[in-house]
Amino acid sequence: MSKSLLGKFLFVLMLASMLLIAACNSDEGSDTPDDGGEDNTEDTTDDGSDDGSEDDGESSDDKKEEDTDGLYSIEDFSTSTSNDGELIDGGEITYGLVSDTAFEGTLNWNFYSGNPDAMVIQWFDESLLTYDENYTITSDGAAEYEVNEEESSITFTIRDNVNWHDGEPVTAEDWKFAYEVISHPDYQGPRGSTVGFTLLEGMQDYRDGNADTISGIVVEDEKTITFNYERLTPSLLTGGIWGYPLAKHIFGDMAVADMASSDAVRQNPIGFGPYKVDSITPGESVTYVKNEDYWRGEPNLDKVTLKVISSSTVANALETGEVDLVDSFPVDQFPDNSNMEGIEWLGDIDLAYTYIGFKLGDWNKEESRVNYKPDEMKMGDVELRRAMWYAVDNNAVGEKFYNGLRWAGTTLIAPSHPAYHDDSIEVPTYDPEKAKQILDDAGYKDTDGDGFRETPDGEPLEINFAAMSGGDVAEPLAQYYLQQWQAVGLNVGLLDGRLLEFNTFYDRVGNGGNDDPAVDVYMGAWGVGYDVDPSGLYGPTAMFNFPRYESEENTELLEKGLSDEAFDTEYRQQVYSDWQKLMVEEIPVFPTLYRSVLIPVNERIANYDISVGSGVYLYELGVTSQD
């Protein structure tokens, strides 16, 4: 998924599914996150593997000693490779696309839908926009920008030397064309819902067919384009604007409905990125050769081979050197592979969190908004929800189940957004006695002597907990939460007595608007976009607002975060800090774990950085030895 969509279109994630999580922060191989605030330790300390000299061939399986406590911390990981050797000319690498299915092969930013395709596209095409570590547009990319606040418009100038692989220049017309195609009624892809589209002047007329062009997009000259918006919001600069042009000289004559299945998308995809597609074996592999005319400069590698590799064999493939670099790595396999020879581990905080949600209403289909009715729902009492937060030991879960690579969450804006994550907020932490106390005070007492508490009205309270299957840890983790709630006297049971498969789970939780009334509590995960705005998840009209929570204060804060005034970062920080506090008080959901991303890289690879805004771009990637 591309960044602009992420703001709104958030992925529902399997607890342990690194594949989907990876979708969220990897849309642009070239600019990847560097979490501003936290750490910038240059050396990788405890992932071993960097003290051996050259690593060729010898695969002695000596295990290095683990850390004393077997725990890891994401702060000990660097986001960039430490290799500072001399790059060799004509290097080649193999890039592993970790996926258990084939990639679909819709190879154009404007049409693709799955993350595996995005991993293929990032090598040969890129956005005109680049982002800094706070996920705000910079002028370092292929286009420079200027905001005109009086006219609510933003003007971009594409650099002169930015050319498509076939030598044609990338023009303002191409960019406008992308907007027209995506907003066309025949367009089938998932784009077009972000503020970059919806706030454009004349967008509604174009969509309704009353206009042939979008009046809000003005092509000033070959390389300059101005977007006129109804109003400005900070979300525009943090992922709202669609930054991928569509080559008009190739797609211009095609019917919009046919584009996604055309040769120019499927077989001979075109872009202006550092590498060109050489050949494609559908669903399995792609070979790229360098694009010598790349606008930033000539890439260091001659050839890149991408191949699909299954998540269960990826560790072996890295160890044998079959792949040098991968797009993602299952975090739960890290402790067993941390000492792998010849591999350097890069790590960063993931743009995601795991959470436990409470159903407080259902979806009103007619009005397309949530139907918040806490009085009718079992979980409607905030004290009950608060007690359930106090009852769970997320620190133990993070340390024991994930070796510290996931850690207890506090607020609903993860530390992956360091500017907005407010770590000064006090949140409930594991304290079963306090949980019992809260329940006692709120009137939840065991009146019939069955060992479980009844509601204040004396009704038996049976709570159904829905959790997803997937990964080895899913099942014991769900059981662990159940145990802890049972330990404070709440009769919580697994919905249907088992874990639900990914799609079934989200269907029942309410992905299609058909909330299953049997679900009371559920455990899910969100991958969040570059844009910190949470209204796509907790706004009153958001389908993804699975708890179906709504309050005036919440709506007001969410709107404030998107207002003109929010261009002032301090103001916006205050708004989101208030919002995080509100969520800790109201607890429609509570975060359980923050997560990390780990990427193993062969030691011969240099100039690679997995963070956003690092200033290290994909064309600089190189190798320091032949194999």
Binding site: S312, T313, A315, N316, Q333, D336, A396, V397, E399, K400, F401, D472, V473, E475, P476, L477, Q479, Y480, Q483, L494, D496, G497, R498, L499
Partner: protein, 310 residues
Amino acid sequence: MSQKQTQGDIEKAVKEQQEEKQEQKSPSGFRIFWREILKDKLALVSLIFFVLITVVVFGASEILDKAEVTRVDPFNIYQPPSDEFLLGTDQGGRDIFGQLMIGTRNSLAIGFLVTLLSGIIGVVFGVVSGYFGGHIDNALMRVVDFFMVLPFIMLVIVFVAIVPKYSIWTFSLIMTAFLWMGIARLIRSKALQEKELDYAQASRTLGSSHTKIIFKQVLPNITSLIVVTMTLNLAANIGIESGLSFLGFGFPKDTPSLGTLLSYTTNPITLEERWWIWLPAAVLILLLMLSVRNVGEALKRAADARQRRA
């Protein structure tokens, strides 16, 4: 008068003969089984092993507290075997030994139940079909054919998804629904032969009811076949349960069975390095199926005079 008397005499004679036969045949049938097993040392060891395991797991799982065994303990994840945990722990910090005991109990219980239920249905179906023949046979065999063409695994998956909470009983019933056809066909073919034999014909001529002939005369004569088939089926059924649980369509993960323990091997690291989680279960499945099979083979030889060793 004299005719009646003769008929009475004959009936009496036949009855006596039958009684004699029964007295001799059924005990001697089991004696033959027993002799054959004693003679075949492998079968004897297998039988002792199987009985021992059965007694131990059923006994142990009475003592063990299931809630305690399946309690997740994040502070003891992936412990190798030690004094505290005889066979180590799994990724939820749960004791493998306890799970193995309860799991084997569950797997065996399902094996027994499925064998018994499918045996009963199959035998009744087969005998009725074979004995009556003609239209009844035709109709019943079409029913069998219908069940045989159903895709077993697919339907089990669907059932497992539909039934919200399943226990040993529901799971056994689901499996039984698709496993009785083989035995029905086998018994039918045997019943077809038996009913043509003189004793059955004679009994019919003398006016015995069908029920009586089927259950008192034909059935005892095919007991050995039933015993042998069901024993061999038992081995297969234990395997099928483990297979389904391994694929995730058997018991849910929090109900241990041999299959769920085996399914931990889908994690390659567990397969390579944490042998204590899955190896005992794998060995146990192998040994259980082999021993049941050894006994079954011995019984099979005993049931067929030409193959007998004793």
